[in-house]
């Protein structure tokens, strides 16, 4: 009994610790400025709810526009990433192409400090007119996610027994048929997980978006960061914006809990 109480006490503390800032976002999003800056603790939960922050966000700032940008760039970059990573991962897993060195090379690019890439990319993008365009940002996100996607998919392909494919080929299946009828059905969950991770990482990315976009292709994260003004910060707007951009994460936790750790460890831990 005492053990059980201790367990739930510790669990509650952990959850409070984790959820406190997130709860704060959703509470603050519905507060008026007077309530946000009220130093009384009771105002943390007891206040007169208002939709003003959301109304201002959508009427005074291009929030829809930027949200749409985020969506376009995330989805576009995810599609391209998957198109590139999918065949490569299959090749690495099926034929051990490059004997492991190539795979290391691929994953090592994910460890490049972004700042090293940012300066030359900026210069090249400026020459090619890719600054502040959807395509430019999409390509950068493809680069950021592709090595990780390849590695993760490699882990999933690696689990498809190659004897299965050989048996099918001996039975007279062509390579396309083997792929379509045997490999693909087995790899489908892996594809979904990888795609979702590319989506969420592109959605959350800030540094490149901040450097490479101004108005036209600006994603919503950059808009939210602009509410931070050093001396004067518009917390209501910021919380309202954050409340909306956090929603995809909530949905994903609901659906894919058991794959999240797998994704974050590049597939090393099954979770």
């Amino acid at each position: 009994m005492i053990k059980k109480i201790c367990f739930w006490l510790l669990t509650t503390i952990t959850l409070l610790f984790v959820l406190f800032p997130l709860a704060w976002v959703y509470l603050t999003a519905f507060k008026s400025n007077a309530d946000i800056f009220d130093p009384r603790l009771i105002r943390f939960v007891v206040f007169k709810p208002t939709l003003d922050n959301f109304r201002n966000l959508f009427s005074q700032y291009p929030f829809w526009h930027d949200l749409l940008n985020s969506l376009i760039v995330s989805i576009g970059s995810t599609i391209i990433t998957m198109l590139v990573a999918f065949p490569a991962a299959y090749s690495f897993a099926r034929w051990n192409t490059g004997g492991g060195d190539l795979l290391f090379l691929t994953i090592s690019t994910r460890m490049f400090p972004p700042a090293i890439a940012a300066i030359p990319h900026f210069i090249v993008f400026k020459t090619l007119g890719l600054l502040d365009t959807h395509w430019g940002l999409m390509l950068l996100y493809v680069f950021l996610n592709v090595s990780f996607a390849t590695f993760l998919l490699y882990g999933f392909f690696d689990q498809v027994p190659k004897e299965l494919e050989q048996a099918a080929m001996i039975d007279g299946y062509s390579r396309t048929e083997v792929f379509r009828k045997i490999v693909f059905p087995l790899i489908k969950p892996g594809l979904a997980v990888t795609a979702v991770f590319c989506l969420i990482w592109a959605w959350n990315e800030f540094f490149f978006a901040f450097l490479f976009t101004r108005n036209v292709a600006r994603p919503v994260n950059v808009l939210i960061s602009s509410f931070w003004g050093g001396l004067q910060v518009q917390y209501g707007l910021m919380a309202a914006g954050a409340a909306i951009t956090i929603l995809p994460a909530l949905v994903i936790v609901g659906f894919m809990q058991r794959y999240i750790i797998r994704g974050l460890t590049f597939g090393a831990v099954k979770g």
Partner: protein, 319 residues
């Protein structure tokens, strides 16, 4: 491990292709050359390699080139030999940022591991609502670091921040979380808050997969739980701990977003990537910024090479 050269497989594949696609005595088309048995595996990786060369290796060489030049984004780059590197060696701001990055790396990894281990041990059992509880704890990992840093900046505000309000309601002194001697630790705190669930869930996965019989045997032999933990649990978790350390080090060495929403490199919190960013994009000193970037890249690579073999081994063990 030889994946493709079992005889039966090759023969069948060849006869298959010979019969269906390549007619006798005709030059194969480009498509056939690309998809024949020998080239197909390379054809599949070409798009990836092209992408990596354009977006990763080309910028790397570009940066190396600029690091030997002086350039302010206008006019032509002027060759300056080792000047940038010589300047860098004596640049105390850069080395301070370097030191701080390592400090953050060590603090965050150690605390995350300890917290994570605690939570993993706590939740390594069946309990009511376990999926909901675990799901909620995963949330911070999926939220944009930038958004979180903006939130924490306000939560830790001296006057209006909820944390200080709670502290003073409980009778404690308010804390200047962003004071110059404390801000770096506050940044660490934010990062730890976001990432300790990562360690927790990796270790939880490890704890769940431990063989039951060994622990049974230890219990029968009368080993204390502390002894079992130290001599059985920890060694068996060590590949996973290694994975956590390597992956977290890779992420932390490039810690950047939490600075954007909070101090922006002020009050002694400038980290490695931030100083490169500031030199290149705020001061437009491309040459010097590139030299910093190259040194920072080299440091990352040393770290990776030291750890990657270990990581692959741990991964093979985990899989």
């Amino acid at each position: 491990m030889d994946r493709h050269e079992s005889a039966g497989f090759n023969v069948s594949a060849e006869s298959n292709e010979g019969g269906k696609q390549v007619g006798m005595g005709r030059k194969p088309t480009i498509w056939e050359t690309l998809t024949n048995e020998k080239n197909f595996k390379w054809t599949l990786v070409v798009p990836l390699l092209v992408l990596l060369v354009i977006f990763a290796f080309y910028p790397l060489f570009y940066s190396m080139y600029f690091s030997f030049h002086d350039w302010g984004m206008q006019g032509n780059p002027v060759f300056s030999g080792l000047k940038n590197y010589r300047q860098l060696v004596n640049d105390s701001t850069f080395w301070a940022a370097f030191g701080r990055t390592i400090e953050v790396l060590v603090i965050c990894i150690v605390v995350e591991l300890l917290l994570g281990l605690g939570v993993a041990l706590l939740w390594n059992r069946e309990f009511k609502g376990q999926n909901i509880v675990r799901g909620l704890a995963l949330l911070p990992l999926l939220v944009a670091p930038l958004t979180l840093s903006l939130l924490w900046y306000f939560l830790l505000d001296y006057n209006f921040g909820a944390v200080n309000q709670i502290l003073s309601a409980l009778g404690f002194q308010k804390v200047y979380w962003w004071a110059p001697n404390r801000a770096l630790f506050t940044i660490c705190f934010i990062t730890i808050w976001q990432w300790f669930p990562f360690s927790a869930f990796v270790l939880l996965a490890g704890l769940k997969s431990l063989p039951k019989d060994v622990f049974e045997a230890a219990r029968v032999d009368g080993a204390s739980s502390a002894y079992t933990f130290r001599r059985l649990t920890l060694p068996m978790l060590s590949p996973l701990i290694m994975i956590i350390i390597v992956l977290r080090a890779m992420w932390l060495i490039r810690l950047m977003d939490p600075l954007f929403g909070t101090t922006r490199g002020a009050v002694n919190t400038e980290l490695l990537d931030w100083i490169v960013y500031r030199t290149g994009f705020v001061m437009f000193d491309i040459g010097y910024g590139s030299a910093m970037a190259v040194v920072s890249w080299a440091a990352t690579m040393v770290l990776c090479l030291l750890m990657f073999r270990q990581l692959m081994k741990s991964m093979a063990a985990g899989r």
